[in-house]
Symmetry: C2
Amino acid sequence: MITADRNSNDDKFRRKAISVKEGQAKILPYARRIETEYVSLPMVEGRILAEDIKAPHPFPHFRRSGMDGFAIISSDTAGCSTETPVYLEVVDEIPCGSLPSVALSPGTAARIMTGAKVPDEADAVVMFEMTEASAGQGKDYIQLKREIKPGSNITPVGLELAEGDLILEKGRRLSAGEISVLATFGIYDVPVAKRPRVAIFSTGSELLGVEEPLQDGRIRNSNTYMLASQIRNAGGEPHILEAIADDLTTARQKVAEAFALYDVVITTGGVSVGDFDIMADLVSGEDVEMLFNKIMMRPGSVTTAAVKDGKLLFALSGNPGACFVGFELFVRPALGTMLGMKSPFLREFQAELGKDYAKINNFTRFVRGRLDFADGRLIANPAALDESSVMVTIKDSDVLIVVPPSNRGLAAGETVTVLQLPGAR
Amino acid sequence: MITADRNSNDDKFRRKAISVKEGQAKILPYARRIETEYVSLPMVEGRILAEDIKAPHPFPHFRRSGMDGFAIISSDTAGCSTETPVYLEVVDEIPCGSLPSVALSPGTAARIMTGAKVPDEADAVVMFEMTEASAGQGKDYIQLKREIKPGSNITPVGLELAEGDLILEKGRRLSAGEISVLATFGIYDVPVAKRPRVAIFSTGSELLGVEEPLQDGRIRNSNTYMLASQIRNAGGEPHILEAIADDLTTARQKVAEAFALYDVVITTGGVSVGDFDIMADLVSGEDVEMLFNKIMMRPGSVTTAAVKDGKLLFALSGNPGACFVGFELFVRPALGTMLGMKSPFLREFQAELGKDYAKINNFTRFVRGRLDFADGRLIANPAALDESSVMVTIKDSDVLIVVPPSNRGLAAGETVTVLQLPGAR
C-alpha cells in the first residue's frame, strides 16, 4: 500500500515524531566505516578514497625548463648589453625526457626543450627568441644582449608539492583531477572504500513489474529502480530483491536473510494486510532496535529506521516523492558515512525563492525545486506539483527547498535554505 | 614534449589563432549523431536518451484515493450536518491494487485505502477521522456529519500526465527521476545513444608509465588517465592506446588504425624529434583536414583539431592544465553533440570574483577556480596556481573563470563569466 502521510495510525503504531536532524543523529552511529579495497587506477572513477595520500616525492621532482631555449649560467651575462653582447658555446642538447650529457662550465650553454631537466650547473633558461645563433671554428655559439636573472624560466623542484605533502585526503571522491594526481605520483592501486551493498525490497500487492502490462487499479514498481539509481549515485551497490509478500512470517524471514547478505536494507512501501502495517511490526521485533518511525517532515513523515545485527534498515514510503526525499535525507548520509566521506549530507546553502509557495505546513516541508543562477544570485524555484505521491517532478529537480512549519506561505524573494541534490545536472 | 604556450613556432607550423567560439563552431559539423542502442532499465544510469518518450497512458491511469477512508457519492451528503447526520452502508472494501467488487449505489460507501482505485460511481473520499462507525441489522454503517464536496481526496486520471504527453525529451541524461518515469510507464528497454568510442594516445618520450619507477628528468603519464575520466564523465567510452613513438611513419600508421576503430581520436602532448612537431605534421597530411591549430586562449593555445575520414582528431597540449581545459572546451561539446545532448557546452553564468586576479593576458584565460555559494550569491575564487603546466589545482576546481584579454588584472567583486565543470562536486 502507499503509506499515507497522516496521523490516524500514529497511536496504533506508537509513532513519535522527531526532527530530521534528530533522525539523522540517531542513524549515524550505526553507519559504520566500511572496509578498504584496492582498485586499479583506470577503475577508480567516482570511488571514495580510503586513506590519506602523501606525496612520495616532490613535484616537479627535477628542475624543469619552462621554455624552449638555452640553459645558461646567469652570471655569464653580467654586464651584457646590445653594445657588449656575450657569446656562449652550445655544448649540449636536452630534449624532453633526456638528461644533460655534459656538465656546463662558465661560457657554455645547453639547448633545452620545455619540460626537460635543466643541467645542475645552469640557473636560468633564456628563450630562443632572445638569442642569436652564430658559429665559429666548427663550434655553435649563441649571442646574448641582455642580462638574465637567476631562476628565469626554471620551475623549481617541489613548486606544486613537497615530498610528504598531503595531496589527497581520505573521504574524497575521485574524479579527473584526483586521478591525474594519483597517476603523477605512480599510485596505480588505489585504496578506496568498498561500495556498501544495499538490498532493496519493494512491498505492496498493488505493484506490477516494469515489464508487466498495465492493469486497472495497479501501478508499476518504479521506486526500486529509482532507489537503485540513488544508491549508485551515493556510492553504494544496489541489489534489487524480490518483492516482499503480504505475509509477516515470510517478510520477516526475507528481511533476516537480507541482513546476513547486505550492509544496508531498504524497503519501500508499506505491506498491507487489511489495515495492518507489516513494516511497523517488522521493526518492533525483539532483535530489532527501532530508531524512529515518524519524522516531522513532508513528504515522508512515516520514514522509519531500525537496526538489526548492527546494520541499518530503512523503511521508506511507497509514495515516489516521499521515498526520494527519505533516501536523500537519511540513506545518503548513512552511505556517505560508511564510505568515510567528510560531508555525507546534502550541500546546504541559502537562496532566493523564485516564486510564491502558498502551501502551509505543520511540519517542515522539503519541496522539490530547481536552482537557477541569475545575475550572480541563486534562485530556487519550487516545482508546480510537489505532493508526496507525485513522481513526475523528481526528474526536473536539483534541489530540495526547505519550507519551515508555517501558517502562511512563502513569498517570492524570501531567503530560503536549499539542499542540493548531487549529480542532478 | 610538453608543448609550450608561445608564438615562436607559429610561422613554422602555420598557426593562425582563432577564438574559442570559432573553434567550437568549426568542430560541431563533424560531431555526427551517434547510433541508438537499447539498454535495459537497471543499466541506463547516466546514459543519454536517444528518442522522445511520450506517455503511453495517462498518469495516474485510474482515479486514485488520496486517503485511507470511504469512497462515497457526494450528493448523499447534501444537507448533512451535526444535527442531521447521514448514514451510509459500507458495502465494499478496496485495498491497494484491488478493484471494487460491487457497484456503489446511493446510500452506500466503500472502505478504501490510499492509492486504491476509487469505484466509478463514487465522486469523493472521506477520511476515516470524519466518520463514525455504526452497525445495525448485521450491516456496517458510517455516520457523516458534514457535506462532502465532489472530488475530495481523489487524484483524477492524468493529474500528472495525459496520454501522449512528452514525458522525457531526447538528449536528456538519465538519472533517478527519469528512471522513475521510465519504470512507471513500463519502458524497460530504453533507447539511448551509444557511447562514442574515444581513443587516447599519449605522446612524448619523456613519459613514464604510471607503474614505472620514477626516473630523473622524466614524468609519469598522467594525462591519459585524466582524459579517460573526462571522457567517461562526458558520456564517452575511453580506450587508452599505446603511446605513439617519436617517428612520423609509425605515428601516422597508428593514428590511421585508430580512426578505423574509434569514433574520435585524442592525442596529448607533442611528439618531438629534435625541434620537429609530429602532431603538426600529422594534421597536415593530404587525407586530413585541419580545422584549427591555435586558439586565442590560455592555457592550451596550441590546441589543435582536424578531421580524417569524417572523424574528429583532437591534439591537446601535454601540459596537464592545458590538456584539461582543451578537453572541456572542445572535446566535451563534440561528444555531447554526438550523443544528441541539447546543451553540449559547459554551463555558463555570471558570478562575483572572490579575490583579485592580477595576471594580465593577451588571450582570454580560462582560470581554474572554485564556486562558492554565500548569502544567496555566487562567488568564483581563482586557484592560487593556474599555470598551464600546473596539475595539482585541477582536483580542487569546479569552474573555469573566463578572464578576457586585459592589460590590467581583475579585482575582487567584479562580475565574471564562469563555466561550470560537470560532476566536480
